[in-house]
């Protein structure tokens, strides 16, 4: 971890003189930096069999081995570069054999989860916004800021011989729209990608995917703002399963993804009564994360500026989706990312962010909470809440927390963190609207102009 922090500070030093040279527009640039230098929300992911849990904050990956109850240090690829900027996506994949991490430093790193060696570092052309691992563990897909999805093959047998010429290949593209999530369907027949132009695209994942995935199965259209998250669920007795998606329009929707048909909509923000002022107008806050158990019995939603989570219940047969329960946590806790461990029925949440302007410390604080005691029947929550575990009840206990949070006691920072985290997702995903003068200023500083 020491390595990565060093690189961060290096990058900062380099950037500083560049900013100074811009004299006249300094004010505007500064302002822009503050807005564009958005905080990067902390992420959490868990091994499918709850063997280990990983938190990404800034360029740091923090790992804890739950099986061995010990911390893990990653062994980085000696030949490749390390993460040096905010990690935007981490993913274990359904088999749990690999962990993929990727982000603003245009690197995709693939870690082997038994030895925690980095087995592959892929350099992308653009910043990476989402990453996914196929069920067989054979492919890693990642999406860049141009909206292009790339695929890397992970054949173990010939990994050594052909490592050099195995580059990522583009397999599909959303036309210049940032892809927010990427996921394989449970049967691996499809690859789903959501973007901030309110689209979810379901593409047939072909048998020879490295030649490109050209056949679009469907588009799930209905959201009125960016799609921030989605998840597949396959209740018993269903052939293909369903897709849940959450969006900046403060709704969660249920889709038949084979046909792209919208089956149900739940206006979560309105139901929970979270009207808020978002800068120019009153509106409901976006859904930031969504976790669904594989059978669809647990649906947990994080909404920006809600200090807690919302549990939904879904009737798959009669196509209903409604709020079952709002579970609130302490006032200053706004989860930035959550993950559900299927085997133990625990919901892991993390709050944290990097690039915080207010914090002077180099430590990036994060706060982890774990919830358990979910009911099989979501309509039966009355008087029987899921329990938020105390710090010492969390698997791994204080040891885990001190490893993953950066320190065992982060309450000091919590207020500042909460304030930054509150608007992070929206700022990250909305389309930015600039005033005319700002636009002119941006044009003047365009790279192709500067070169002249």
């Amino acid at each position: 971890m020491e390595e990565t922090t060093e690189i961060v500070s290096d990058g900062g030093d380099e950037a500083a003189p560049a900013a100074v040279t811009m004299d006249v527009e300094n004010g505007l640039i500064e302002e822009e930096k503050n807005m564009d230098g958005e905080v990067a929300p902390a992420l959490i992911s868990i091994h499918p069999f709850e063997k280990s849990v990983v938190v990404a904050v800034g360029s740091e990956l923090r790992l804890f081995n739950l099986e061995g109850n010990c911390s893990v240090s990653l062994i980085d690829d000696p030949s490749g570069p390390s993460h040096s900027d905010a990690i935007r996506s981490i993913n274990f994949g359904p088999s749990g054999k690999f962990l993929a991490s990727a982000g603003d430093d245009k690197l995709v790193k693939i870690w082997e989860t038994s030895s925690w060696h980095c087995i592959r570092t892929v350099s992308a052309d653009k910043r990476v916004s989402a990453v996914a691992i196929s069920h067989s563990g054979q492919y890693v897909a990642f999406a860049d800021k141009f909206g292009v999805v790339w695929l890397v093959g992970l054949d173990e047998d010939d990994a050594k011989q052909t490592k050099v010429d195995k580059k990522a290949v583009p397999i599909l593209g959303h036309y210049c729209s940032i892809i927010t999530r990427l996921e394989f369907s449970p049967d691996e027949r499809f690859i789903a990608s959501a973007n901030r132009d309110f689209k979810i695209r379901i593409t047939v994942f072909p048998k020879q995917p490295l030649k490109g995935a050209h056949e679009i199965q469907s588009f799930c259209l209905g959201h009125k703002d960016f799609v921030s998250c989605f998840a597949f669920a396959c209740p018993p007795g269903c052939a293909h399963g369903f897709l849940f998606s959450g969006s900046g329009d403060s709704t969660v929707r249920l889709w038949d993804f084979i046909s792209g048909l919208l089956l149900a909509t739940c206006e979560v923000g309105a139901k929970v009564g979270l009207l808020q002022y978002n800068g120019t107008e009153d509106g409901y806050p976006p859904v930031t994360d969504l976790c669904v158990s594989s059978d669809g019995s647990i649906i947990a939603i994080a909404i920006q500026s809600l200090h807690g989570i919302v549990l939904l219940s879904c009737g798959f047969s009669d196509r209903t989706l409604s709020v079952a329960k709002v579970v609130t946590l302490e006032d200053n806790y706004f989860p930035t990312s959550m993950v559900l461990s299927f085997s133990k029925q625990r919901l892991w949440m993390v709050m944290g962010a990097s690039n915080l302007p207010t914090l002077s410390t180099t430590q990036l604080p994060t706060r982890i909470r774990v919830m358990s005691g979910f009911h099989k029947d979501p309509s039966d929550y009355n008087g029987h809440d899921p329990i938020t575990l105390e710090d010492n009840e969390i698997p791994g206990g204080k040891k885990l927390l001190s490893e993953l949070q950066g320190s065992s006691d982060v309450t000091m920072e919590e207020a500042a963190l909460a304030a930054a985290v509150k608007s992070s997702m929206r700022n990250m995903l909305i389309k930015k609207e600039y005033a005319l003068e700002r636009r002119e200023m941006r044009k003047r500083n365009r790279n192709d102009r500067k070169r002249r």
């Binding site: 309110f198 030649k211 050209h214 679009i216 469907s218 259209l221 900046g248």
Partner: protein, 341 residues
């Protein structure tokens, strides 16, 4: 298609409410504000992009292109006034069947398809307002969709980057029962095509009812207009060549965008492309050739296709190329089923 050769001179812009221009004397039911947010309409409702983000509209009725031109007009206030009244009279004329004049609709020759522009987009194809576009086929009283047992009529031909609408006007009498939609990114050009169609409808009652136009970015929002396999023909005539390699991703034909075109086209549907730029011609042909869902249409079949003749003759851009004795490069491909090896 972007009017590459046209002069890029910026004339003072004319501002008007689209709804007033396009729907002068509609029944009250048609001029009611659309019920759903984001429904395609020519009425000056706040567009959905702004509504979703809660951004107040600066100039009601204007789109980003015209507001970009505002600065230019501020230098010439006198002529702006004179010209807008001129434009008004031009509008009045087109209602009575006189064709709009292109000189009042001068726009930039290029428009950046990558920019986040703000105009209303239907949330899904079901949201596309057929009543407004094809009132002859979808009488306002009958609830919008075609009557009874027959499945509702849908747009079958799409002219992507329709420019000044020459192809639509040429195709309309050839396929009088087929609905066709032109899609154009530049709002003034779209405005011109709207007026042109209205004028044609007014002077030829019962004709040109099957063509319409929308201002949209088809590279981004095609699936919002058409369902899977809905189209039987797609046209890409004289698209912007984007010569610089850096700008190749702005080209309207690319391997990735062909995925979406293949989605919108039915199996057996045909994609027509033509250009006068050899580089672009090669590019489009190789993209189509490399795409597993498209196969070349044999030459003898093309000779029998009445549409093929229109490709180079019907559009304004095509006529210009012919006038200058230029060469054209054509690629016509059919949507085929994927063969799993």
């Amino acid at each position: 298609m972007l009017n590459r050769l046209d002069s890029a001179a910026i004339l003072p812009p004319f501002f008007f409410f689209n709804g007033i221009l396009y729907e002068p004397n509609r029944s009250s039911s048609a001029s009611k504000p659309p019920p759903t947010l984001g429904r395609v309409s020519f009425l000056p409702v706040p567009d959905r992009g702004r509504v979703a983000r809660g951004i107040p509209r600066r100039h009601p009725g204007n789109h980003s292109l015209s507001s970009a031109l505002t600065t230019a007009s501020q230098n010439r206030p006198r002529s702006t006034v004179a010209m807008s009244s001129n434009a008004d009279t031009a509008q009045a004329k087109s209602r009575s069947g006189r064709l709009p004049r292109k000189r009042f609709y001068r726009a930039r020759a290029h428009s950046n398809p990558l920019s986040d522009s703000h105009f209303p987009i239907p949330i899904s194809p079901a949201d596309f307002d057929y009543c407004h576009h094809y009132p002859y086929f979808f009488a306002p009283g009958s609830g919008g969709r075609s009557d009874g047992d027959a499945p509702p009529r849908k747009v079958r031909f799409a002219d992507i980057g329709c420019g000044f609408g020459g192809l639509l006007v040429g195709l309309s009498p050839l396929f009088p029962d087929t609905l066709m939609l032109g899609m154009e990114l530049r709002d003034k050009v779209t405005e011109y095509v709207k007026e042109r169609i209205l004028a044609l409808r007014a002077s030829n009652p019962g004709h040109y009812e099957n063509i319409s136009v929308v201002r949209t970015n088809s590279m981004k929002y095609l699936p919002n207009y058409f369902e899977k396999g809905q189209l039987s023909k797609m046209f890409f005539l004289f698209p912007d060549p984007h010569f610089k390699e850096k700008n190749h991703r702005r080209r309207v034909i690319s391997l990735q965008l062909l995925d979406e075109y293949a989605y919108a086209l039915e199996v057996g549907g045909i994609i027509y492309t033509i250009t006068d730029v050899e580089d672009l011609g090669d590019w489009m042909r190789s993209c189509l050739e490399d795409h597993p869902l498209f196969g070349a249409v044999p030459e003898e079949e093309l000779e029998l296709d009445p549409v093929v003749k229109l490709l180079s003759s019907a559009t304004e851009e095509g006529q210009k190329v012919a006038r200058n004795g230029g060469q054209t490069f054509r690629a016509v491909y059919r949507r085929i089923k994927l063969e799993e090896e």
